[in-house]
């Protein structure tokens, strides 16, 4: 939730709260508000240098830094897992520069930054999902020049995008795109959902949470407000379908979650497990990774920040 910092935005370590200076945060918040009022529209913003390499989610980090407050609880996932290098370093970054509480549980988190997945656990009103976006333009490859792709968005000329789906069906007999499957937002703007699996596309539709997207390298922000229509492109006679697995999760038995295939030994043994580690742990009833409280007690008392 965007909260007004009335005072003391400096942390004890000498950073401004959440690293970015207040003016930059205001600039990014203005871009976010504009993005929320035109769902799916890419708003340019003056992306800042971040102390992490590009490709590590600097766009998402700047968005998170601009919306997070001391009472928020942050979850960071990468490919569904909280314990990957990328997720750990982003979490560590915010613990250091904002001294906030982090969590691995969707149910506890108020802000979730993600790369490549939407959590299996349904989000609720008041939560914010921040997507890291490497390439925000769904029309790249169709309109090589940006001035043309902007016109196509402005005039809602999306026939050429549908042609790419046609080409898939003509070639393979079905729409072969699995990741970054284009969606129409609010019946108006074509949007890239970031490189999430198409399995997650239906979760964007009518979601009670706020969904924010940040690309640092391309300097674009876009958003899907709560309860907004997000429709995956398809044909009447080749309707959109999500991936399905014959197996269930080897750990929790879930037959409805997105599964990763993991190799269990060097003799070709393999099994399928939930990509969303928090969801899998919750289903097993064993909850690892309860709230980690940062050094400062500042955020520890937060009951509800929504």
């Amino acid at each position: 939730m965007i909260q007004v910092m009335s005072s003391n935005t400096e942390t004890s370590k000498g950073y401004n709260f959440a690293y970015l200076d207040e003016q930059t945060k205001r600039m990014i918040r203005r871009a976010l508000l504009k993005a929320l009022s035109i769902p799916g529209y890419q708003v340019p913003f003056g992306a800042r240098e971040m102390p992490l390499p590009c490709g590590w989610g600097t766009g998402g980090i700047q968005v998170t830094a601009s919306v997070i407050g001391p009472a928020d609880r942050l979850k960071v996932i990468d490919q569904g897992a909280d314990d990957t290098t990328n997720a750990i370093s982003i979490r560590r970054f915010f613990k250091k520069v904002a001294q906030i509480v982090t969590t691995e549980k969707v149910d506890e988190a108020t802000v979730i930054q993600t790369r490549h997945r939407v959590p299996e656990t349904a989000l609720i009103e008041g939560q914010i999902l921040v997507y890291q976006v490497p390439q925000p333009e769904p029309l790249r490859g169709i309109a090589p020049r940006q001035i043309e792709s902007r016109k196509l968005h402005a005039y809602a000329e999306y026939g050429a995008m549908q042609v790419t789906l046609y080409e898939d069906v003509a070639r393979f007999g079905y729409i072969a795109r699995i990741y970054e499957y284009p969606v129409m937002v609010n019946g108006r703007h074509l949007m890239s959902p970031s490189p999430i699996p198409k399995f997650d596309n239906p979760k964007m539709q009518n979601n009670p949470a706020i969904q924010l997207f940040g690309s640092g390298t391309e300097k674009r922000i876009y958003a899907v407000p709560p309860y907004t229509s997000v429709r995956s492109l398809d044909f009447d006679d080749h309707p959109f379908e999500v991936q399905k697995w014959k197996q269930s999760c080897a750990f929790c038995g879930s037959g409805t979650s997105y599964l990763d295939e993991v190799i269990t030994d060097d003799r070709g043994g393999r099994m399928f497990v939930c990509s969303d580690t928090d969801y899998c742990a919750k289903r097993r009833g064993a909850q690892p990774g309860t709230s980690e409280v940062a050094g400062s007690p500042a955020g520890a008392t937060a009951g509800s920040s929504s």
């Binding site: 000329e157 050429a160 549908q162 042609v163 046609y166 069906v169 070639r171 398809d234 009447d236 080749h238």
Partner: protein, 265 residues
């Protein structure tokens, strides 16, 4: 039915009045006026630099004339000055009710999209969402322009120049536009290939009752396709009339020169 009879029974499709365009003192086209009727094919001939390409660009809404008006009989609002349309309105008109066939197929088709996808783009851009129907329509049009259906999923870069040009025509005509602009449609093609293209074009124009404006330096093209002819020289229309009349009995020395040079070829 003769062209004259068509004119008498129908209302004006494109009404062009006093169109002039110059580039920094260089005359592009000067005070051009004419009316085009539904189903009528108008040829505009002249050498390069005569202003015919400038005129076509103005008519197709790609270039704003300095003076004059160009009114088109839109389906929704009747005669509308196309210069008063907003850019999205003009683009919509251009991909629904109009067709534009470029001299170089590369400018009018997507080389990295299959022939079927090229033909399907216009229907999809105006809302077609049934793959089977889009594909059936693509097949229908490949048939019409005499491209083997076995090539439906091939990319046009593997096609001959003549096939590419026929694909461009199919891609334009699939939405059954009422007016098609053609810029040297046979330019760059071998004579034998030209003959087939002209044959296909003539058949389609007559079958569909499409109005067309064909700009060319090739009198054989207009002889075969155009009901009416305008001859341009140095930006002006110097002679106009029914095609056979103009070609068989040219009054202006410049037209006589054009006609005699084609006879010598």
């Amino acid at each position: 039915m003769t062209a004259a009879a068509k004119v008498a029974t129908r209302r004006i499709l494109l009404d062009v009045r006093g169109v002039s365009k110059s580039y920094g003192g260089q005359v592009g086209c000067l005070d051009v006026s004419f009316a085009l009727y539904p189903g009528e094919v108008l040829g505009i001939v002249g050498e390069s630099g005569s202003g015919k390409s400038t005129l076509l660009a103005c008519l197709a809404g790609r270039l704003a004339p300095d003076t004059g008006s160009i009114a088109y009989d839109t389906k929704e609002r009747g005669l509308v000055d196309i210069l008063s349309l907003s850019e999205p309105e003009r683009r919509r008109l251009a991909r629904t009710d109009w067709g534009i066939v470029h001299q170089n197929p590369r400018d009018g088709i997507r080389m990295d999209v299959s022939a079927g996808g090229n033909i399907g783009e216009r229907p999809m851009s105006i809302g077609a969402r049934h793959y089977g129907k889009i594909r059936a329509e693509a097949h229908e049009w490949l048939n019409k322009v005499e491209i083997d259906l076995a090539r439906t999923d091939d990319k046009p870069r593997t096609f001959s120049g003549g096939m590419q040009q026929r694909l461009q025509i199919a891609r334009n005509l699939v939405t059954r536009p009422r007016l098609v602009f053609m810029d040297e449609p046979t330019g760059g093609l071998d004579v034998s290939v030209q003959a087939k293209l002209l044959d296909v074009l003539r058949g389609l124009v007559h079958e569909l009752g499409i109005a067309a404006i064909i700009v060319t330096h090739d009198l054989a093209v207009v002889r075969l396709l155009a009901d009416r002819l305008m001859v341009m020289q140095r930006g002006r229309v110097i002679e106009e009339g029914l095609t056979d009349q103009v070609l068989d009995d040219p009054h202006q020395p410049y037209t006589q020169l054009l006609v005699s040079s084609v006879l010598q070829v």
